[in-house]
Symmetry: C2
Subunit: 229 residues, 2 copies
DNA sequence: CCAAAAGTGTTCACAATACACCCATGC
DNA sequence: GCATGGGTGTATTGTGAACACTTTTGG
């Protein structure tokens, strides 16, 4: 009895990107207005179909780059979604990815072309298909990740204040943190460099800027380092 | 400009199952001898293709059940693998699942039919395609999961001794644990029921048997309970 | 009576938490 | 000189880790 690959069912394979950003105030999600039927004009995650000669990672990066102009962004595969009728037109399996980007970095012209818009995470509209499910899974994963790995540097500008970093953790984790305890833990991680410069926009006194020491961080991660926020 | 689903590339979608078992001694992996070309006769994870009217979860359960005769097994989606040439015959995306089963439970006749065999995790042969990569990802996930959720009850017989449970944790985590500390932590979780019965096979004195209180466990999990081993 | 595994508590070190006041500056 | 956000330390509690002796009983 020989096996024949041809008798098996094929499917379209898509990737959808949950794109998170942060604007000093709120965790945000980048959505597009869907440009074609079905569900044309509704809010949707940015997605695209996997091409013959691409891996899923490559496809997800392509999709993200089409919308934001960014490459080399932090991205992680999230989960495969496969309800039979999730796309009413064709059987489509979608593999969701989530990305963390610095909200200031993207190319606004591209956003316009896709009628894309940032939404506060607490104020996301209804999404097409199973995209809301994807979003909640991404949030869950981001929260867990945040409490075991220093994350969020991807979401901040290169230089940032402690206040901004703390605010970011607060919006991701959905709880307020104590200023002193937060700084203690962050300093223990030993992956920040305190600069001489101050940010003078937020207060009269000004607050010191920090940079993320990526090299030191990657050394630690490869040693299996995690922490507990 | 309208969009046409038909111009997109389709692919075969497969599921592959990393099936873990435990035999009081070692963590084990269930492999089959591949029955068809390419790589016929080589060791492989049990897999199968996604059918038109199935979700990935359903397909993974079907595949597992074909090999073991078991349903209602603990199973979790792991990751989507998509290297372009991972299957040399046809473009195939594979979504890996891992399963935890009680090694005593399976149907030996079915194993025979697939020329399947259990291997100690420390002694796994070369696997076809990217299956070794799947396995290492599964092990990593199992280890992480084990240190935050009570796991492993799926891998044990219904009634088990503390010694067995500890041994299981030890082989999953790959380190020895202190008997007293282990019991303390497990008892804190409060999901075990100590039975009046003893297992007399392991020592003269005999050791008490325990059962897992699934209901209490599920209540806890839905309250967001995790622990640290 | 002895071999072999089961069972059981305490101490110590470190990490998490709670908490409040002074500082620097622009206006 | 005062209002605003920035910066800093300590005391308490809880949790993880290390550690050794007694019990049971079949042979």
């Amino acid at each position: 009895m020989d096996f024949n690959y041809n008798q098996e069912d094929k499917a379209l394979v898509a990737v959808d990107c949950i794109i998170f950003g942060f604007d000093e105030e709120d965790l945000k999600l980048l959505l597009i207005k869907r440009a074609f039927e079905p569900e044309k004009g509704k809010w949707s995650l940015m997605g695209g179909f996997l091409k013959k000669n691409e891996t899923l990672d490559v496809a997800a990066n392509r999709v993200l780059s089409n919308l934001t102009g960014l490459n080399d962004v932090y991205m992680e595969q999230l989960y495969g979604f496969s309800k039979v009728d999730r796309d009413p037109v064709e059987r489509t399996i979608s593999v969701a990815y989530y990305a963390l980007i610095n909200i200031k970095d993207h190319n606004p012209k591209l956003l316009d072309e896709h009628s894309a818009q940032w939404f506060s995470i607490s104020d996301v509209p209804d999404l097409i298909f199973d995209h809301s499910e994807m979003l909640s899974k991404a949030l869950e994963r981001l929260r867990r990740r945040t409490s075991t790995n220093p994350v969020g540097f991807e979401l901040l500008p290169k230089k940032f204040t402690m206040r901004q970093l703390q605010k970011l953790y607060e919006v991701i984790l959905g709880e307020e943190l104590d200023k002193r305890n937060f700084q203690k833990k962050i300093k223990q991680m030993n992956v920040l460099v305190k600069l001489k410069e101050k940010d003078m926009t937020s207060s009269r006194k000004g607050s010191f800027l920090y940079e993320f020491d990526k090299k030191r961080y990657e050394e630690k991660v490869s040693d299996g380092f995690t922490f507990k926020m």
